[in-house]
Amino acid sequence: MSGVTSEPHPMSDLTLNGIRVIDTFAEAFDVAGTAIVVTNDTPKWAMIAATTMTGFATSVIGCGAEAGIDAILSPDQTPDGRPGVRILLFGFEPNGLKDQLIKRVGQCILTCPGTACYAGVDGPNKIKLGGAIRYFGDGFAIAKRVPDETGKERRYWRIPVMDGEFLCEDSVRAVEGAVGGGNLLFLGRTHAETLKVAEFAVEAASSIPGAILPFPGGIVRSGSKVGGRTKGMMASTNDAYCPTLKGRAGSALPPECGVVLEIVIDALTSQGVSDSMRAGLHAATEVGERHGLIAVTAGNYGGNLGRHHYHLRDLLAPAAGQEG
């Protein structure tokens, strides 16, 4: 869900850490979102399960879902006292999210040795997960209710598998208010240097709880615009930001720009997107000067498609508690 700046950026007076920040906004969308916690006997196998499940989940358009690792959990943060990983999964709408969740847990978590799966967020909408996967147990699966630490009773399915049992929570929750498509574009001079800037931004942006960056390493090089010159294309390359198309009418790039990289952010809350973008923007501009960063901008569709607009102007101030 990478966005496109609909028109070349105007000259801007905004600067942050000496780097030009274009006075525009990122346009993002309401999405259906959920979180699960996967655990395993070792951090290594918890991570293997998580990376497998979040593979091929960069864009809802082509992959059906956007997913990523939100946090690595220590044993005292998981329901069963084992190392774990919190995964966020986003879809266009609740039914699509449910479909993707069941497929991905069924193919990537159920199959992974030693893994168990729990709900990772509270929310108003129930998605039957273990209650759907239990049919793999061919009638041998057992449901058990066990209260958690707060006394709230949770229902689990114990599905017999070849290494013992796959334990999966009966249902997980989808949140209301999840947002997908927050983004930042970094205009740089060289590929290697701009990639470093983007990496700093990814590290900072992904540190915000409840936010993920679903593209490879959190970075996307193929920003897109809606539609294309070829009939039937839902999206096509963001030509205004392709450096090889500089100089043409419609290019948004200054002459010195040789590379543009983008980060895309999904979060369980709008505040999460905002916080994550702010963290990414500040991290990128802090290192930008020594890595040849020219400017930071954001992608939007003119403001008519998504109801969430994150103005970079509003993100220039540091996060509360980090002033000066």
Partner: protein, 264 residues
């Protein structure tokens, strides 16, 4: 805290179904004393056997229990009842929530059909603790029943949901279980007889039915969750799960989705 103090041994079995903190909170002392608790034509009233002291709170103490006090805390829907002494049959039967504590012993069918809340018996419980009464579909049905001492035969008979923690249980513990969990330091002969589903964890057992089959030792994630839950209630029972466990699956004469875990 409201208090009922037993004056002398009741002349007949008394039915405490209508005596709860909630029911007493809206009554004057005189009205409370006129509540019928007798089970014969004698028409025994609360004030005939107990000195009544009410303060409108959700906490009730019955000072001086007796084995003739039946259905104490039955259908309790909130608040706390503490009995200093013994109680009769069907303690907390059909209870939905709240806390019920008995410092002495309890008669048969404690916690039968209870769907919520916690029942604690500091002494022993009679037969069918957490079990189903005649013709009932289920025994314990979601509540937590703790018996610190011994429970009689058929503990958890036809229980459907919830947790029973017991020191020692007699024969046929967990018989005909529909589901739920029983943890006992020791059980008698034929545990889980005819169980369909459910989990029984024990440190020692009598004769096991031949319709249970050993499946070996397993380090299952579920046991971690159960251990965490048990630890909050009883360290001794949680410690069972820290030991090497053998698992028996059964009862193969029925649905066979039940399990007995025996700590080594």
């Amino acid at each position: 805290m409201s208090t009922l103090t037993l004056r002398e041994a009741p002349p007949e079995r008394l039915d405490f179904l209508s005596i709860s903190p909630l029911a007493l909170s809206g009554l004057t002392q005189a009205e409370a004393e006129r509540l019928e608790i007798g089970t014969s034509r004698r028409g025994v009233k609360l004030g005939d056997c107990f000195a009544v002291s009410l303060d409108g709170s959700d906490s009730l103490t019955i000072e001086g229990g007796h084995e003739r006090l039946d259905r104490v805390g039955a259908s309790l829907s909130g608040g706390t009842i503490r009995v200093v002494g013994d109680v009769g049959q069907r303690l907390g039967a059909g209870m939905a929530s709240g806390t019920l504590t008995v410092t002495g012993h309890a008669g048969p069918y404690a916690g039968s059909g209870a769907t919520g809340g916690t029942i604690t018996i500091e002494g022993d419980a009679g037969d069918y603790a957490g079990g189903a009464v005649y013709a009932a579909k289920a025994g314990l049905d979601g509540a937590t029943l703790i018996v610190r001492g011994r429970a009689g035969a058929h503990c958890g008979d036809r229980m459907r949901r919830g947790l029973i923690l017991v020191g020692q249980a007699g024969a046929h513990a967990g018989a005909r279980m529909i589901a739920g969990t029983i943890a006992a330091l020791e059980v008698g002969d034929l545990p889980g007889y005819g169980m369909r589903r459910g989990t029984l964890v024990t440190g020692k057992h009598g004769t096991l039915s031949p319709t249970f089959v050993e499946t070996g030792s397993h380090d299952l994630v579920f046991l971690r969750l159960l251990g965490k839950h048990l630890r909050a209630v009883s360290e001794a029972h949680a410690a069972l799960l820290d030991r090497p466990l053998r698992r028996y699956s059964g009862d193969l004469a029925t649905l066979a989705k039940g399990e007995i875990w025996v700590a080594g």
